[in-house]
Structure formats: structure tokens, C-alpha cells
């Protein structure tokens, strides 16, 4: 074969490859711009979610995956989502950002630009969600998230969010509800606050202080510590000496487990203990066993709240998942409902139309009533649960026939 023949063959291959690449590129752009794949047999749209499936937030992220997938599966089982008279199957593309903000941001971008997602669902906590919301704002893609306390999320963009929306409780509501529950039990009204220095822990501490003072309690000890601190003997000794009978806190589960163990060991037996974030997973019971009996836990969903779809949720998941897992997964289920129903109402995959439809959301969902405020947050209720024999029951707001167990039995 002559040199000329080889060169010609190479050029043909090169030209062919270029043509194929161009064709593929045009195809991708067309699909992305229309926001939908329109192959004859199945029409589909892609929704993306970058979740913290591993790392310190892995527990929350795994529950998010359960919630998001459940709603998408429900819609697909019913034939798909109805958009402008046609039904589309939903491809839910989930990536693991390993609880890293930079990865979360990069993955949100890739889900839109590479995978053709027409909308995004967010990851847990502002650390993960806010960078993703920034990407959504930049790319003009609707973004609905949850597991972000409202003020932290709403104030994270100085110019105000345009395409990002959050469905969760408000920090002030959290503090007030916890303070009110703490006073259900008779005590000397002396409170010790234990908060880690993560963003939410720092934000919540002054709100807890204000809320307990407003309820006539007295803060006798305020203890802050950076994660991954798990040694609390000096704080416990101080709180015990100050006579605290109520312990309120916000920290990672490893710290919470260590704190309760050390409280028991050092003979500090407060009547009321609620450690937000720490006690919010099944591992709380696995790690502490009966020691956890009577400890409080924050809930955003409970069967006793009687939100829409509760019987169906219990029927579908009740045997497989515990109430504490459901309490974490159902808000994500609800956030996905908000997004998918907005897409359907928009009758289009156009980002602007979907975004406008999200803004007009006003109705009951699995997580309660959702209506967005000017700062793009929808305030859901904050409930308090109590661990009893490995299960969680809602105790505040009060539920008929259910009483808060006082004092905390695990520490007695």
C-alpha cells in the first residue's frame, strides 16, 4: 500500500469520525434543547440529583435517594409524567458527591450539560445544596431541594434565588418547638446547650438560647465544639455542676452517641435530652440501645401528622422502613412531588415555564402544605419524636393517646 493510499484512508476515517461526532453532537443538543428524548418507542425526560450517599452526610443522602426514587417510580408506574398531552417516562440520574461541596457543584453542572437533565433535585444540608443551587441559577435550570433549614437556604444568595426552591422547616420554628417540648416534662428549667461548630449548629445555638429563655428556662451552660470531637467529660462535669436538667443540642451522630454514653458514665442524668441531627437515624438506637430510650428526635414527617398519602406510604414502605427512616425520606418524596407536579402543570419542559409553575405551588403534599415565600422557601412543620423501645413516636405537637416519657429512661 502506497503512502498516498494510507493518507487517503486516514483522511476518510478522520472525515467519517468527524461527521459521526457532529451528528452525535447535533443529536445531543437537539435532545437537550427540547429537554426530552423523543425516540419512537419511549419518550423520556431526565431529572438529576447529586446526593451525599457517602461521607459524613451519607445517612441523610441515602434516605434522600429512597424518597426521590419512590416518587419517580410511582409516576413511571402510572405510565409516566403528563406533559402537554403526552406521557413521558422519567429517568432519574443520581450521582454520589461523597458529602463534598465542590463535587456536588461539579456534578450538578454535569447532570445538566452532560446528561441533559431538565431539572435538578438537591442534596441534603446547605453545605451541599447551596453550591448546587448556584449552578442551577447560573444554568437557568429549576432546582428543588429539601433538608435545608429555610433561613440558611433562603439567605444564602444575596441577590435572591431565581431557579432554586427549598421545602423544609424554619430554624426558629425548630428552636421554639424543641423548647416547648422540653417544658412538657417537669424540671428545674435549667438548660445546657451542646452544639457543634458546623454551620447549622452555630446558626441554631442563639435561637435555642432565645427560645428557652422565652419559655422561662435558664441556660446554665453553652458548650460548642468542632466535629469530630467525641470527648465531652469537661462539658458534662460543668453541666452537671450547674444542675442542668434539660439538654438540647445539635451535632453529628458520632458526637451524640459519645455524649449520651459519657453523660451516663459520669452520672449526669438530665430529664430531657434532644440532640438534633445526631438522633435522626436508626443507628442512634443501634449505637446506644436502651440508653437511647426517652431521647428526643426531630421529625419532618410522622404518621400522626396525617399528611396526604400517609396510608399509602405506610402500606408501601411501612414494613420495610422504620418511622425514623421514613421521617427522613418522606420530605424528599414530597420535594420530588413538588417538582414533578410543577413540570406537569407547566405542560412543557421549558425551564422558565417549569420555574413559574414551581413558584405557583400551593397545595398539600406528602410533607404537608407547600407554598413558597419570597425567599423561595416553603415552611413545613417541625415535629418532635421520642425514642421508645427502638421506635420513634411523635410526642410534640401532642398526639392523642401518646405521652412524652419523663424523665429520660435511658439515663436512669
Amino acid at each position: 500500500m502506497s503512502v498516498m493510499t494510507v493518507r487517503r484512508a486516514t483522511r476518510v476515517i478522520f472525515a467519517g469520525s468527524l461527521f459521526a461526532l457532529l451528528a452525535a453532537g447535533i443529536g445531543t443538543i437537539t435532545a437537550a434543547s427540547s429537554g426530552a428524548s423523543t425516540r419512537a418507542s419511549t419518550r423520556s425526560i431526565t431529572i438529576g440529583a447529586s446526593l451525599p450517599l457517602t461521607g459524613p452526610l451519607g445517612g441523610l443522602g441515602s434516605d434522600q435517594e429512597i424518597g426521590y426514587r419512590a416518587e419517580v417510580n410511582d409516576v413511571n408506574r402510572a405510565g409516566g409524567i403528563k406533559i402537554g398531552g403526552s406521557k413521558y417516562k422519567i429517568n432519574l440520574t443520581i450521582l454520589n458527591n461523597a458529602s463534598t461541596a465542590t463535587t456536588a457543584s461539579n456534578q450538578a453542572r454535569a447532570l445538566v450539560t452532560r446528561d441533559g437533565a431538565i431539572a435538578l433535585l438537591g442534596g441534603a444540608t446547605p453545605t451541599i445544596s447551596v453550591p448546587q443551587a448556584d449552578v442551577a441559577t447560573l444554568l437557568h435550570v429549576p432546582f428543588v431541594t429539601t433538608n435545608n433549614p429555610d433561613d440558611a437556604f433562603g439567605s444564602a444568595n444575596a441577590k435572591g434565588w431565581k431557579y432554586a426552591w427549598d421545602v423544609f422547616f424554619k430554624e426558629e420554628t425548630q428552636a421554639k418547638t424543641v423548647a416547648k417540648w422540653a417544658n412538657v416534662c417537669p424540671s428545674n428549667k435549667k438548660v445546657a446547650l451542646f452544639n457543634d461548630t458546623e454551620k447549622d449548629g452555630t446558626f441554631e445555638r442563639p435561637l435555642y438560647e432565645a427560645a428557652v429563655k422565652a419559655d422561662g428556662d435558664r441556660v446554665v451552660g453553652t458548650y460548642t465544639f468542632p466535629p469530630p470531637t467525641t470527648t465531652f467529660s469537661s462539658f458534662i462535669t460543668s453541666a452537671k455542676a450547674a444542675g442542668a436538667q434539660i439538654v438540647i443540642g445539635q451535632m453529628l451522630p458520632t458526637a451524640g452517641i459519645a455524649l449520651v454514653k459519657q453523660m451516663k458514665s459520669l452520672g449526669f442524668h438530665p430529664d430531657v435530652v434532644i440532640l438534633a441531627k445526631a438522633a435522626n437515624a436508626e443507628n442512634w438506637w443501634k449505637g446506644l440501645g436502651s440508653l437511647a430510650t426517652g431521647s428526643g428526635m426531630e421529625l419532618t414527617w410522622s404518621p400522626a401528622a396525617h399528611y396526604p398519602g400517609t396510608p399509602q406510604i405506610l402500606k408501601t414502605w411501612g414494613k420495610k422502613l422504620s418511622v425514623d427512616t421514613l421521617a427522613s425520606a418522606v420530605p424528599d418524596f414530597g420535594a420530588a412531588q413538588v417538582l414533578l407536579q410543577a413540570i406537569s402543570r407547566a405542560g412543557s419542559t421549558s425551564a422558565a415555564k417549569v420555574n413559574a409553575a414551581i413558584a405557583k405551588t400551593n397545595g398539600m403534599f406528602a410533607v404537608g402544605h407547600v407554598k413558597f415565600l419570597k425567599n423561595h422557601t416553603a415552611v413545613t412543620r417541625y415535629l418532635v419524636g421520642q425514642w421508645t423501645h427502638g421506635k420513634v413516636v411523635q410526642v410534640y405537637p401532642p398526639v392523642p393517646g401518646v405521652k412524652t416519657e419523663c424523665p429520660m429512661a435511658g439515663l436512669r
Partner: protein, 286 residues
């Protein structure tokens, strides 16, 4: 600041020393900073948790099994991976153990989720009083085991033939080999022993507090600080440095607040590194 805080702080330091002993041993003998040491510690805690889930074995009933599994793992790790890497230079060993640490964290997260867990034992919630000072049982136990392990190790290294062989291999591997010592076997047994010590530390750590797949990093950092402050390969130094670190941490928390616990430890670490690069007690038996 009260006596209970200070005493429990020092006892917590005993747990640090227990975790650091294996690292010091490998550092002293193989001249390797085993960045996977934290993963070995946390791996032992997870192994005990799994034995509880499978056979309802309590942490201390599971401990002998965990020790044997860890030792076999350590032995195989040295024979199958570290020997070849160390022949290429110390950097390869560090990179290799770093890779293992990353892999271990990911494996634990996949197998056990990222949620914090703990080993249940009545020891973790028991205490006793001496003259008005409340002592946490789990920390007293950890400290006592640390002292026993350090003593046995020191005795073994200085007073037994096996110790002489190990010291010879550590000091000059080439000459030791010429004298008929199977250096590769000695190194493998050293890593096995270090892994066994890590297992003891891991189970006690799991009983005393909560742990998660990412807990290995903070444990490794504390252990490195203890080893450097105590003197590389100095067993007694490691024990004393561990106790001192725990005490310093307790004092700093009492005086400056919780935010300065680790900061104070690392300040101490850097001061010692600059003022006495060989550690407060110099290089020991190794």
C-alpha cells in the same frame, strides 16, 4: 477546671496511646508512616460490630477474634503489598497505605453506611469514685490495657531473643539478613503485631464513643502526634505522650472551650517537632 475533668482527660490519653502503639512500632521498625493505621483501628471496631450483629458477641467476647483477624490481615498486608512497595522506596509505602486508607473508608461506608455507630457495652456507661473524682470505667480499662501492652512490648523488645532479632532487623536490615535473620518475616510479624494492637485500640474506641467510616482520619492524626511527641519507636515515650496529650486536651477545653481541643494538641506537636525533632523522649528501643 476540676479533678474529674483532668483525670478523665489523662485516661483518654491512655486510649490515644493504645491506638498509637502499633503506629509507633511500624514507624520504628519499618521506617514507614502507615497512613492506613486509622483504618485498621476503625476496621477492628466495625469487625466487632459485625460479630455482634451476626453472633450477638459483646465487644470483649469478640475482641480475641478481632485481634486474630487483624493480625492475619496485617501479616498479609506486609507480605503481599508493603514489602514490594518498600523495596521501591519509602514514598511508595506511604502512597500505598494512603490508597489503602481511602479504599478502607469507602468500603466501610458501602458496607455499614456513613451513619455513626457504636459498640454497646455496660463498661461505656459505668464509673466509680475515688475521693470525689469520678472515673469512667471504659477509659480506666483502656489506660490499663495501654500500660500493659506498652510494658509487654518494652519487655519483649529489650529482654527477649525475638526482641533482639526485631531490633537488629530494624537497625540494619541488610546486616541482619547476612546474619541469617529472615527480615521479611520479621517485618511481616511486626505489622501483624501492630495491627493486633490497633484492633485492641479500635474495639475500646468503639466502646467508648461513636465512630463512622471517616473517623480513621482524626484517629490517625492524633496517633501521629503522639508518636512524634513521644519519640519514634519509643514505646514508653508513646505511652507518656498519649497521657500528656489527653491531659493537655482536657485543660485546653476547660480553659479555652471545645474549639481548641485539637488545636492545642497540634500546637504541642509542632513545638516538639521544632524543639526536639526526635521527640520528648528520643528514639527508644528501636
Amino acid at each position: 477546671m476540676n479533678a474529674t475533668t483532668l483525670v478523665n482527660g489523662a485516661l483518654e490519653g491512655g486510649l490515644y496511646a493504645l491506638v498509637a502503639l502499633g503506629l509507633s512500632l511500624v514507624f520504628g521498625v519499618l521506617r514507614l508512616i502507615n497512613l492506613a493505621h486509622g483504618v485498621l483501628v476503625i476496621g477492628a471496631a466495625y469487625a466487632a460490630l459485625e460479630l455482634f450483629e451476626l453472633f450477638r458477641l459483646g465487644p470483649f467476647a469478640a475482641l480475641p477474634i478481632v485481634i486474630v483477624v487483624a493480625a492475619v490481615f496485617g501479616y498479609l498486608l506486609q507480605r503481599l503489598m508493603l514489602t514490594n512497595l518498600l523495596l521501591k522506596g519509602p514514598e511508595a509505602g506511604i502512597v500505598g497505605t494512603f490508597g489503602l486508607a481511602v479504599l478502607g473508608e469507602a468500603a466501610f461506608a458501602a458496607a455499614f453506611t456513613s451513619n455513626g455507630v457504636s459498640l454497646q457495652s455496660s463498661l461505656a456507661t459505668s464509673s466509680f469514685k475515688i475521693g470525689g473524682v469520678t472515673l469512667e470505667m471504659v477509659l480506666v480499662t483502656a489506660c490499663a490495657i495501654a500500660v500493659a501492652c506498652a510494658g509487654a512490648l518494652q519487655f519483649g523488645l529489650k529482654r527477649t531473643r525475638a526482641g533482639s532479632v526485631l531490633r537488629a532487623a530494624a537497625k540494619d536490615p541488610s546486616t541482619a539478613e547476612l546474619m541469617g535473620i529472615n527480615v521479611r518475616l520479621v517485618f511481616a510479624l511486626t505489622v501483624a503485631l501492630a495491627a493486633a494492637l490497633a484492633a485492641v485500640g479500635g474495639v475500646l474506641y468503639g466502646v467508648s464513643t461513636g465512630f463512622a467510616p471517616t473517623s480513621d482520619t482524626s484517629l490517625l492524626l492524633i496517633a501521629v502526634a503522639v508518636v512524634v511527641v513521644g519519640g519514634v519507636g519509643n514505646i514508653t515515650g508513646t505511652l507518656v505522650a498519649g497521657l500528656a496529650m489527653g491531659l493537655v486536651q482536657a485543660i485546653s477545653v476547660s480553659v479555652f472551650g471545645g474549639g481548641y481541643a485539637d488545636f492545642t494538641v497540634y500546637v504541642l506537636f509542632f513545638v516538639v517537632l521544632i524543639a526536639r525533632p526526635k521527640g520528648l523522649f528520643g528514639q527508644g528501643a528501636l
